[in-house]
Symmetry: C2
Subunit: 352 residues, 2 copies
């Protein structure tokens, strides 16, 4: 603490990302990265763009990348906004659509950055309770609110909500923005992007960090009707004109364009997820049905924290959240088949 800090710097409770230990080489199943490399076309495009033009500012409005995304999703370019990872996009959304002292709704168990943003911008939040099996029910979204944010699939549970469910939330709250955070949508869910022309209050957030294997490049985006994007642009252009560097812009474009590679790698991950879920169930794990690139698991006998520590000791990193209701669960990212086989083997050894 310092007398020079703002009130804000004193009161915030910063987000803590998954650990990136440097002490030894781990099998990293703790931050939901993609186990496969980015498309070779991405690498090629970035290398080509690593030239003298790096001395010049990037395009502040990211026209080419927006056009590529719009084309891919059947949207207008004016319905697309891009940012430095979906975390930056989310922070800017909070500024553009929620006022200080507003009350917003978010799921009781969810991405832990949402309450951090709320604190940062002096926004109140009420939690929509989850059922015993971590399901959301529509009733919770009938509470008075000045905005809603939820991930679909949810994190860290991996539970997916149908588009019909999302539409009901949108209809019930037509006067408030509803932010659907689709960081994990490509692993088996159906995107709400197709609802954008129908609902003026819908914002759909996505990222290249998971299904496009580009966590290291920092690119996220949001889709919504044109007037929502305009408001967001106003905030972004009051914060930082150039949030995406030239290499990220080029790499992102190629990642979206290489549909074949995308389909191939996400199919592999889905297949591995289904297989691993089955095998873990056989050895006494409760595995929540997941539409993400991770599974949320709990063992019938062995405590999650114990499993977490023993796995770490044996060189496998998973994510453990020491918080009410989920303190006996582990979130395990889907790695390659080889990595997951080693995980299962190691878990068997620990459990026996």
């Amino acid at each position: 603490m310092s007398k020079y800090w703002s009130k804000l710097a004193k009161k915030v409770e910063p987000y803590v990302p998954g650990e990136q230990p440097q002490d030894k080489k781990y099998i990293k199943l703790n931050t939901n990265e993609n186990p496969y490399p980015p498309s070779p076309k991405v690498m090629k495009a970035i290398k080509q763009a690593t030239n003298e033009d790096l001395k010049l500012y990037p395009d502040p409005t990211c026209e080419e990348l927006k056009a590529t995304l719009a084309d891919y999703y059947g949207l207008k370019k004016s319905q697309v906004f891009v940012g430095n990872g979906s975390d930056e996009v989310l922070a800017l959304l909070f500024m553009a659509f929620f006022d200080a002292d507003d009350s917003i709704l978010l799921p009781e168990i969810t991405y832990s950055f949402y309450p951090v943003y709320a604190n940062l911008f002096n926004i109140n939040y009420n939690l929509v309770q989850l059922d015993k099996d971590f399901s959301l029910s529509l009733d919770g979204f009938s509470e008075p609110n000045e905005g809603i944010i939820l991930p679909n699939p949810n994190a860290p549970t991996g539970k997916y909500l149908s588009l019909e469910f999302i539409e009901e939330i949108l209809k019930k709250n037509i006067d408030e923005v509803v932010i659907i955070d689709e960081a994990y949508i490509d692993f088996g869910g159906e995107s709400a992007v197709k609802l954008i022309d129908k609902y003026p209050n819908l914002l759909v957030v996505q990222t290249l960090s998971k299904s496009r294997a580009l966590a290291g490049l920092r690119v996220g985006f949001v889709f919504g009707q044109e007037d929502l994007m305009e408001g967001l642009d106003r905030i972004k252009n009051s914060f930082n004109s150039y949030t995406l560097d030239r290499l990220a812009l080029v790499g992102a474009k190629e990642a979206i364009k290489d549909e074949e590679y995308f389909q191939e790698t996400r199919s592999k991950i889905i297949k591995t997820r289904e297989r691993v879920s089955e095998e873990l169930r056989k050895i006494g794990f409760k595995v929540i049905e997941s539409k993400a690139n991770f599974i949320f698991v709990s063992h019938l006998r062995v405590q999650a924290e114990n499993l977490f520590n023993q796995l770490k000791e044996k060189g496998i990193l998973v994510r453990y959240f020491n918080q009410p209701r989920i303190e006996n669960f582990l979130r395990v990212s889907i790695g390659t088949d080889e990595e997951m086989d080693l995980l299962i083997k190691t878990l068997k050894e620990i459990i026996e």
Copy 2:
């Protein structure tokens, strides 16, 4: 305007960056980019880092880059903060050190993003008046304030303040933070970095966009005592964990390390600036003495706006600010000798 916008989105007055027209190829002397390419070592390092690891998140605390910067400037790593361009760093500084309704001081004519940040975060500002020749006097910094921000050299005038002057500001305002924005310091000024251990209220902002020729990579930093950096980290980690991508981190490190290339290119720019200043004076321009990679010029007979338009028509872009006191000046970035020779030739044609 949309009913969904926050009060903030409605009231902000976004920053407008220098134009990046796509209609034809211009000689770009309008956004203070470096005319020379980045160090070849930067390119090599980025190409090497364009590999499978892009699937992994970057280091959120940027340890290696911080260590490189600390080593270069004789600081501790805990006295360094890095961000996605100095504009992002500035935005985060406003959040970390100024409260809503605070009154801060900034120069009457200065980087036009400062009032934009102030509006975004509901911070009031008072302008420190400039003398007739655009000089700042110490008296202006004796006004009551809750913080000070100023560029050194100033933009768009290019005028430089000595370290003795900066020290006087720091002493007079020891209970408030003083942010010295040194985006252009490497073109002839002396950095206030060496004062950091002496003044607990000093923050020194720098960027790779100008003297390191990496505007396209988006890397900026700030130096200050450890407790100031801690407050800033708290805000950054409440906004976006991973602001710098893997390629920017690697490229930035190499840029700092290639001292020989840096000295060579900045010397060339300084030499060109001095020569061009002299030549423009000979054809009737008032040229403010500059320690930046741009000059601020006004012609005795021909109006600046007229010159701006005619230059643009002839394929040369410079920056014109249509605002009181400087509406008869042009800001001209220092390009290569060939580019500047063409500028001078073209100006002669227009003036005659």
